[in-house]
C-alpha cells in the first residue's frame, strides 16, 4: 500500500488542478459579467457628466426653467421632488411598516393571509404607469385631490408601499424566535414585544428598504406624467414653514408642481443642443441623488447592524 502512495498523490493533485481550472473559469466569467455591467453604467454616467458639465453651476440649482436654455435651471424641479418625497415617505413608511409588522406578528396564518402575501409580492412588480392610472382615477377624479404635490406623493407612496412591506417583513423574519420567546416569557404583551424588540431590531432592514424605495420613487416619471404634473413651472409652492403662528402651512400640498425626471424629460424632447446639455446636467444630479440615497442605505445598515448579531 505504501509503495503505491506516490502515484496516488500525483493523481490526486492532477484531479485537484483539473477542478481548480473550472473554478478559475467561472471566476473569470463572473468578473467579465460584472465588468460589462459596471462599464455600461459608468460610461453612461461619464457621458452625461461630459455633456452637462458646463451647466453644473450654482445658478442651475437656483433658476426656474426658461425658454432660454442658458438661463434655465432646476429650482422648481428639485423643490418639487423634495416635497413629493416628503409626502411619499410620511405616508408609505408608517403604513408599510405597520402592515409588515401586522402580517408577521399579528396576522393568523391561514389562506387569507397567504393570498395577501402573494399579492403584495405581485404588487411590487406592477408597472408604475398602472399606479399612475389608478391614482388619476382615485386621487384626482374621485377624491378631487387635484394634480398636486399630495396626489403625486400619494401615488409614489402606493408604488413603494409593497417594497416597504416586503423589506419590513424580511427584516422581522431575521429576528430569531428565541428573542420573542424571551420577551414573552418575562410577561411582555404582544405590543411590548413589538415595541421593545421587533421594531428596533428590524430598523436597519426597514431603513434600507425605505431608502431604496425612495430612490426608486424619485426617478419615477410615468405615473407622475399620468396624474398630470406640469412640465413648465416657474414658481415655487407655498413654503411649508412660515414666520407666523401656527408656523406650518399645508397649502403646498395642493400646489401644482414638477419633479426632476419630468424636467429632464421635457428638456430632452427639445431640439436645441443647449437643452440637451441641461437634461444631461439634471440627469447627473438625479443619478447622484439616487446613488447618495443608496449609499446612505448601505451605511445605515452597516452602522445599525453592528449591535445585532445572532
Amino acid at each position: 500500500m505504501s509503495s503505491s502512495a506516490p502515484s496516488d498523490v500525483a493523481l490526486i493533485r492532477a484531479e485537484i488542478r483539473r477542478r481548480k481550472r473550472r473554478d478559475l473559469w467561472f471566476g473569470a466569467l463572473g468578473v467579465l459579467a460584472l465588468a460589462l455591467a459596471l462599464l455600461t453604467v459608468v460610461t453612461l454616467f461619464i457621458n452625461m457628466l461630459i455633456d452637462g458639465w458646463a451647466r453644473l453651476t450654482p445658478e442651475f440649482f437656483t433658476s426656474f426653467p426658461s425658454r432660454r436654455a442658458g438661463q434655465a435651471g432646476i429650482l422648481s424641479a428639485w423643490v418639487g421632488s423634495l416635497l413629493v418625497m416628503l409626502v411619499t415617505a410620511s405616508v408609505a413608511v408608517p403604513l408599510g411598516v405597520a402592515a409588515g409588522i401586522w402580517l408577521e406578528e399579528y396576522a393568523p396564518k391561514h389562506w387569507l393571509t397567504d393570498i395577501i402575501e402573494i399579492n403584495i409580492n405581485n404588487l411590487a412588480g406592477v408597472p408604475s404607469i398602472i399606479y399612475g392610472l389608478l391614482a388619476l382615477g382615485l386621487f384626482v377624479y374621485t377624491f378631487g385631490l387635484g394634480q398636486s404635490i399630495r396626489t403625486a406623493g400619494l401615488t409614489l407612496a402606493l408604488l413603494i408601499l409593497p417594497m416597504i412591506i416586503v423589506a419590513t417583513r424580511e427584516a422581522i423574519r431575521g429576528i430569531p424566535q428565541s428573542i420573542r420567546e424571551g420577551a414573552y416569557a418575562l410577561g411582555a404583551t404582544r405590543w411590548q414585544m413589538v415595541r421593545h424588540h421587533i421594531l428596533p431590531y428590524s430598523m436597519p432592514g426597514i431603513f434600507t428598504g425605505v431608502i431604496i424605495g425612495m430612490a426608486r420613487a424619485i426617478g419615477e416619471t410615468a405615473p407622475i406624467i399620468t396624474i398630470g404634473a406640469l412640465t413648465f413651472i416657474a414658481f415655487l409652492p407655498p413654503a411649508p414653514l412660515v414666520g407666523t403662528p401656527p408656523f406650518v402651512n399645508f397649502e403646498w400640498l395642493s400646489a401644482p408642481f414638477t419633479v426632476m425626471p419630468i424636467q429632464i424629460f421635457n428638456w430632452t424632447s427639445r431640439p436645441e443642443a443647449a437643452f440637451q446639455q441641461n437634461a444631461a446636467a439634471a440627469s447627473v444630479i438625479l443619478v447622484a441623488m439616487t446613488l447618495m440615497m443608496n449609499g446612505l442605505a448601505i451605511w445605515l445598515r452597516y452602522r445599525l447592524r453592528k449591535n445585532l448579531k445572532w
Binding site: S178, G182, A183, Y184, A185, L186, A188, H197, K309
Partner: protein, 263 residues
C-alpha cells in the same frame, strides 16, 4: 406501600400537573401526565431525546399559546391560590409573570446588560431608576454575575461569554421575583466549570423558589435535584425522590435509562 411515596404527598406542594395531555397538531406528545412540584425543591425532568420534557416545561408558562395548532388538556394548578395555569380564562401574561423561564441557548436581547436584567420590570411599567438599579444589582448578585459586570452594566450583553450570557438570562428571570423557575437544559451549551457554577446557583436559588429543570445529564440531575421525573415517549414513567430513582428505580425502563443501557 412505599413509605417515601406517602412522604412526598405530605410535603408542601407548589404546583401540580393533573392529567395533562398535549398535542402538536395530530401528534400526541404528552399522555396523561400527573406529577407534583414540591415547594422550594428542585425537580428534574429526565428522559431520552424527544420524550416531551421541553413540551411539559413550556406548558407551565403557556409558551405553546404562541403557536397555532397546539392543543392541550388537563390542569396545572399553582398553589397556594389554586390557579389553573392552563385555564383559558387565565391570561398567559399573568402566568408568565409568576413563572420565569431560562432557555437552553442563552437568549439575551441585543441591549445592554442592564436593560436585559430589568426587562421584566420594564414590561411591568416600573420606571423609577432607583428601583430598577436595586433590582438589577439584586438579580445579578443572585445569579453570581454581579462581580463580573458591575463596572460594565451598560455594555452590550453580546459582549459577554456564553456562560455569562446564560447567567445574565438567569438574572433576568430572577429579577421578576418568580414563584417557580423553569430551566430547559440551561447548561447544555456550557463548559464544566460554568456548569458547576450554575448548579451551585440552582442549589442556592431553591432557598427561595421552586425549580423545575430539564436535563440530559444524569450526574447533573443527581447533583441538583431533590425529585426526579423520568419520561419516556410522552409518558411520565416514574416520579420520586432523586436518590430512589437513581438507586432503586421501580420501573425497568427507568433503570435501563439511568444505567445507560438505553440509547
Amino acid at each position: 406501600m412505599d413509605p417515601s411515596r406517602g412522604a412526598i404527598s405530605e410535603l408542601p406542594i407548589k404546583a401540580e400537573v393533573r392529567n395533562f395531555n398535549f398535542h402538536y397538531g395530530e401528534f400526541h406528545a404528552l399522555k396523561d401526565v400527573t406529577m407534583p412540584l414540591c415547594e422550594r425543591k428542585v425537580t428534574a425532568l429526565i428522559g431520552p431525546s424527544g420524550c416531551g420534557k421541553s413540551t411539559l416545561l413550556r406548558s407551565f408558562n403557556r409558551m405553546h399559546d404562541l403557536y397555532a395548532g397546539n392543543r392541550y388538556g388537563g390542569e396545572i394548578i399553582l398553589h397556594p391560590d389554586q390557579t389553573n395555569l392552563l385555564d383559558p380564562r387565565v391570561d398567559p401574561i399573568e402566568v408568565r409573570m409568576r413563572l420565569s423561564m431560562v432557555f437552553q441557548k442563552p437568549n439575551p436581547f441585543p441591549k445592554s446588560i442592564y436593560e436585559n436584567v430589568i426587562y421584566g420590570q420594564r414590561v411591568r411599567g416600573v420606571t423609577k431608576r432607583s428601583v430598577l438599579d436595586d433590582k438589577a444589582e439584586e438579580a445579578l448578585r443572585a445569579a453570581a454575575l454581579w462581580g463580573e459586570v458591575k463596572h460594565r452594566l451598560h455594555d452590550m450583553a453580546f459582549a459577554l461569554s456564553g456562560g455569562q450570557q446564560q447567567r445574565l438570562c438567569i438574572a433576568r428571570a430572577l429579577a421578576t421575583d418568580p414563584e417557580v423557575l423553569l430551566f430547559d437544559e440551561p447548561t447544555s451549551a456550557l463548559d464544566p466549570i460554568v456548569t458547576a457554577s450554575i448548579e451551585e446557583l440552582i442549589h442556592q436559588l431553591k432557598e427561595k423558589v421552586t425549580i423545575l429543570i430539564v436535563t440530559h445529564n444524569m450526574q447533573q440531575a443527581a447533583r441538583v435535584s431533590d425529585f426526579t421525573a423520568y419520561m419516556y415517549l410522552g409518558e411520565l414513567i416514574e416520579f420520586g425522590y432523586t436518590e430512589e430513582i437513581f438507586i432503586k428505580p421501580r420501573d425497568k425502563r427507568t433503570e435501563d435509562y439511568i444505567t445507560g443501557r438505553f440509547g
